[in-house]
């Protein structure tokens, strides 16, 4: 856990308004034998509840040493399963964790001008879209509050 100096990819997900922000840092190295790219180091920083901290921690231990292709496939279910299950209200924490990892991998691909796998690009789009929706909802909420004030 903690910050990583000069990461090869960063995934920033979540929103302070709903109380969870997760940043995942990865370092990528090529395996000399297989020539495949592997996550050699991974760290996280999380502002959030205990479930958010636990899922971030779990995603880092699940992803460490995996190839990028393998890491991309880690789902929220893998995270929650590895933790022995999560209560329904905390499922979004596991989604956030797998999103943060896939955003970090996306970041690595785009920084290095590599061809981004289709599935990863789709996920990136969805994550960014969700982020905007939450921000929009928050904006509406703040405006509502203002109205209440003005009354």
């Amino acid at each position: 856990m903690g910050r990583m100096k000069r990461p090869d990819g960063i995934g920033k997900v979540g929103n302070p308004i709903c109380g969870d922000v997760m940043w995942v840092y990865i370092k990528v190295k090529e395996d000399k034998k297989t020539k495949k790219k592997k996550i050699s180091d991974i760290k996280f920083e999380t502002f959030g509840c205990v479930a958010a901290i636990a899922t971030s921690s779990m995603i880092t231990s699940l992803a460490k040493g995996k190839t990028l292709e393998e890491a991309m496939k880690i789902s929220r279910k893998d995270v929650s399963k590895a933790l022995g299950g999560l209560p329904p209200i905390k499922i979004h924490c596991s989604i956030l964790a797998s999103d943060a990892l896939s955003e970090a991998i996306y970041d690595y691909y785009s920084k290095n001008n590599l061809t981004i796998p289709e599935e990863l690009a789709k996920r990136h789009e969805r994550i960014q879209r969700t982020l905007k929706t939450v921000e929009k909802r928050h904006k509406e909420y703040i405006e509502l509050e203002k109205k209440v004030w003005e009354k």
């Binding site: 969870d20 922000v21 999380t46």
Partner: protein, 394 residues
């Protein structure tokens, strides 16, 4: 009572969430016992165990009335403070709608008042939500500016449940009476903790409950000054002067009466003791870097403290404290059903991420000086550790 030495673990257990609820005082529990199996009668029955239940009910009514200098028959027992607030707002609005349809409440009321007001808006009433300053205080002059010809009711809480700020109730009541508007106050957090005199403080209706002052859960009260008309929420057998039909919860009400009696004797000394502990806790916690007090430094309940810590989230703070044996609460949204953090903290000017980092520690009878020392020992380390993993840190 809390068991400080649980067998499975030697960890210290400290309860610091007295604003949420309190353990029942053993003296009140003893007083309640006979009313479960021996004197179980219905207060409406004419035979002797029924009359005994009725006598116990009226004795408790007398006790509760005398704590706030009210007349005995102006006290109605309900099932909770939530019910009392619903009855005060909805009951008054419907019984007095011919006089006007405008209601004023503060923007930091408990959800049971806020949501009752929102519901009344749907029924055609108009509600003004009065803003507060950065401490959570209402300005009586600002209230005066918002009173209109059709204003029928003002509801402003005595002390806030989250930040503990005590409102200038006497002055607010005076403004209301100058304009002939009924004044209701939710005193769920202050009743039995600080003195209340409904006459001197110009209060027409007042909400309180038992479980915040070492009484049982499921018992509330609404003081309704003689002459004020309310429509009941519950129709039926006509209990509680026709305002709250339901077979009377005699045992619970006896428990309420007992804790009120205890409060009469112990309230002042306990308030002094808790204020000292509170100030020590505040002073100690504010030594942590980037920590801030929510609420007013002096105009606050003797048992309330509320802080926010930059860069961290309240729910993880609460769970880490729990691992150290300390029970506390937060205004973070993670601990609630909704996505948004506490409305009170937002209204006093905190940003969402600041409100998410809030911690409420509320003190009570079992807290001793050593408990404060313990919290001051464990909390800084927890804050430090959580900041280590926070993306917001500097």
């Amino acid at each position: 009572m809390l068991n400080r030495n649980e067998k499975s673990e030697k960890m210290r257990r400290i309860y610091m969430d007295y604003a949420a609820t309190t353990p029942v005082d053993s003296r009140a529990f003893e007083a309640m016992k006979p009313y479960f199996m021996t004197n179980f009668g219905n207060t409406m029955s004419l035979y002797s165990i029924g009359r005994e239940a009725k006598r116990a009910l009226e004795e408790s009514r007398e006790k509760v009335a005398s704590l706030i200098r009210a007349k005995k028959n102006d006290i109605i027992f309900t099932g909770s403070a939530t019910e009392s607030n619903n009855l005060a707002l909805k009951g008054f609005a419907f019984a007095n709608k011919k006089k006007g349809k405008h209601i004023i409440i503060s923007s930091i009321e408990h959800h049971c008042v806020l949501d009752s007001a929102h519901w009344l808006e749907k029924q055609g009433f108009e509600v003004t939500f009065l803003p507060v300053d950065k401490y959570g205080l209402i300005d009586p002059k600002q209230l005066e500016d918002h009173i209109r010809k059709d204003t029928i009711l003002v509801s402003i809480m005595h002390a806030n449940n989250e930040i503990g700020t005590i409102e200038p109730i006497k002055e607010i009541g005076k403004v209301c009476h100058d304009y002939d508007v009924c004044f209701h106050t939710d005193a769920a957090q202050s009743f039995g903790k600080i003195p209340i005199d409904v006459n001197k403080m110009n209060i027409d209706m007042l909400t309180a409950n038992a479980h915040k002052m070492y009484g049982p859960k499921g018992v509330g009260t609404l003081f309704v000054r003689q002459g004020i008309k309310l429509d009941p929420l519950l129709h039926g057998g006509g209990h509680e002067f026709g305002l709250r039909s339901s077979t009377v919860n005699v045992a619970g009400i006896v428990g309420f009466g007992a804790v009120v009696d205890i409060a009469k004797k112990e309230m002042d000394s306990e308030a002094k003791r808790l204020s000292k502990l509170r100030d020590k806790l505040i002073e100690g916690i504010l030594k942590i870097d980037n920590s801030y007090l929510n609420g007013h430094p002096t105009l606050r309940l003797p048992n309330n403290t509320n802080f926010w810590f930059a860069f961290i989230e309240g729910e993880s703070l609460v769970l880490h404290l729990d691992m150290k044996g300390v029970a506390a609460s937060t205004g973070s949204a993670c601990s609630s059903e909704s996505l948004e953090p506490s409305h009170v903290l937002m209204v006093i000017g905190l940003k969402p991420e600041q409100a998410h980092g809030s911690l409420r520690l509320t003190l009570g009878k079992q807290n001793k000086n050593a408990d404060i020392d313990y919290v001051l020992e464990v909390l800084p380390r927890i804050v430090e550790n959580l900041r280590k993993i926070s993306p917001f840190k500097k």
